[in-house]
């Protein structure tokens, strides 16, 4: 099944879940760093680490993404199939339909 044929509910779910997924990955990364790989450093955290730590930035990215994507997910869930189609999808579908017609005619 091509991505172009995803239902609007599934598209909305994927858009809405992208931010929380990134946040979850950031949490796992941070837990691995402080809980497994560098347990001794937990007592000597600096402001620089908190602000620029990769795991923390990944969590922040996920949070910002969630804030932007939730309204888009709602718009996608309420959109018609025509609104969801991209110009490339429409031309691709037309080509596919043309090929199918040619194949039918050849039978």
């Amino acid at each position: 099944m091509g991505v172009a044929h995803l239902s609007k509910q599934l598209r909305a779910l994927l858009i809405g879940m992208l931010g929380p997924t990134l946040q979850a990955m950031g949490v796992v990364w941070d837990l691995l760093e402080h809980g497994v790989f560098a347990r001794g450093e937990i007592g000597s955290l600096t402001l620089e680490h908190i602000v620029s730590g990769p795991a923390h930035l990944m969590m922040a990215t996920g949070l910002a993404l969630s804030a932007i994507c939730i309204p888009i997910a709602l718009q996608v869930a309420a959109a018609s199939p025509e609104e969801l189609a991209r110009p490339e999808d429409i031309s691709g579908d037309a080509e596919l339909a043309g090929e199918l017609r040619t194949a039918e005619a050849a039978k």
């Binding site: 858009i15 992208l18 990769p54 990215t61 969801l84 691709g92």
Partner: protein
């Protein structure tokens, strides 16, 4: 138990890696912020593909990619001004990002074709990959995690260039669009990994 011992040894070996994510010894922490930025914009490119025509309802959303390149270019100019070493490399990246922002904006505004924009993007990604990869990877590639992580960023840039080349060769397909968007996410992730394993600038 053998398995438990092996896992313990693995964890101990991983713990010996030069990991100090977020500690730059006073240097400007550029990698993580650029990494977070590219991860963010790559995620939004995936959302753009999933949202289809809904995405284009707002003008600012259409201009997000050139806007992000413009911000990254301006940030890289700041890095090349503040950073004491590798000034020419950072300046080259800044110029590539700013010119990329210009061509992508021209494409989004309908003034040039995708092919014309790619005529700049492909060489820029290849050159950018060399600049941030082999040229910026200080240290022995066999033994330095820092050098290996820098090389990874360069390889991701070359991978993005190859996706663009395939787009020119085979035409636009949804699979290639998703590959490019997730490649930009991967670029962000690789820059975050540079910070995790090395830290300085």
């Amino acid at each position: 138990m053998t398995l438990a011992v092996e896992i313990a040894e693995l964890v101990e070996a991983a713990g010996r890696l030069p990991m100090h994510g977020g500690t730059t010894d006073g240097a400007l922490p550029g990698h993580p912020f650029f990494g977070a930025g590219f991860l963010f914009i790559g995620s939004l490119m995936v959302v753009e593909l999933l949202a289809g025509g809904v995405w284009s309802r707002a003008f600012w959303r259409r201009m997000l990619w050139p806007g992000a390149l413009l911000m990254a270019g301006a940030g890289m100019l700041l890095v090349s001004y503040v950073q004491t070493d590798s000034k020419s490399l950072h300046l080259t990246l800044a110029m590539l990002l700013l010119l990329g922002a210009y061509t992508e904006a021209q494409y989004k505004l309908g003034k040039i074709s995708r092919l014309s924009a790619d005529a700049f993007a492909i060489p820029a990604l290849i050159v950018g990959g060399f600049v941030i990869g082999p040229m910026h990877a200080n240290g022995n590639l066999m033994y330095s995690t820092m050098a290996q992580m820098h090389l990874l960023v360069g390889v991701v840039a070359w991978m993005l260039a190859s996706v663009k080349i395939m787009r020119v060769r085979f035409g636009p397909t949804l699979a290639l669009e998703y590959s490019f968007a997730s490649g930009v996410m991967m670029l962000g992730l690789s820059l975050l990994l540079v910070q995790q394993f090395h830290g300085a600038h």
